[in-house]
Assembly symmetry: C2
Homo-oligomer: 153 residues x 2
């Protein structure tokens, strides 16, 4: 039973692996989104497994549109440890709820687009005879809230 070997990665290796640029990695560290990365004798960053895991989680949140502000809050709570678990849970639950809502919106739009694409198809089909053009006049009942209500995002 050996613990994981302490081999560290350079910034460019982490960049390669995560798809982030080295600049972005430094930026994330600067703003406190990731903890200060240990340095080698020559001052170079040495990333360990722990950093990579956290970074992976950050990317997961980022790629589902959590703002840096909100991730910073989570990061701060995490650093405080101890009593912040409930708040962190709530933060994640909020994000989860937003995602669920977003999914519903996207699905709605997919259905609408399928309809509209269908109309284009009919139009293009008919065009192999005599051709008109006006797919944008066909569906007027598009689900956008032009019929009252406030912004959603």
């Amino acid at each position: 039973m050996s613990v994981s070997p302490p081999r560290g990665m350079t910034i460019s290796q982490v960049a390669e692996r995560t798809g982030l640029s080295a600049d972005t990695l430094r930026y994330y560290e600067r703003i406190g989104l990731i903890d200060p990365v240990p340095r080698s004798m020559t001052g170079h960053r040495v990333y360990g497994e722990e950093q990579l895991e956290w970074l992976g989680f950050v990317l997961l949140l980022r790629d589902t549109d959590m703002s840096i502000q909100e991730m910073l809050l989570y990061a701060r709570l995490r650093r405080e440890g101890d009593g912040t678990a409930a708040r962190r849970r709530a933060l994640l639950a909020d994000h989860r709820a937003r995602l669920a809502e977003e999914i519903r919106r996207l699905e709605g739009t997919v259905r609408y687009l399928d309809q509209k694409i269908g109309i284009y198809d009919e139009m293009l089909e008919a065009e192999r005879g005599a051709g008109t053009d006006s797919a944008d006049a066909q569906i007027s009942a598009c689900p956008a809230r032009v019929s009252g209500g406030a912004r959603s995002r």
Copy 2:
């Protein structure tokens, strides 16, 4: 069978109805995302039904993260009318495909978050006894691409 009466709306009415600001409406017109809106004798914008429908479609695309650049392209093609139907169809189909992909990503994250939230719940449950803390150490197999591959968005 009467055609719709030509009552027009002011910019603030449209703003109210769409949830956009008047500034944003003017901005959209400036950049050509919506056609030049007819003016009253006093130079004030008078929006008609047709504008509102197009605006609704634009919002639908915007709210599902189509870039303004891409919407501008669609708008331009639409203005050209005639032979651009196939290209417009392709544009919408592309967007549809991106949405489908996005939905899959979001769903994956929802599942991951549910897991993680579950761990917090166990932790918080146990805490009503003796308390530890480390939900961030529990799941390491988070689906982010820290394991090879390039950026996706």
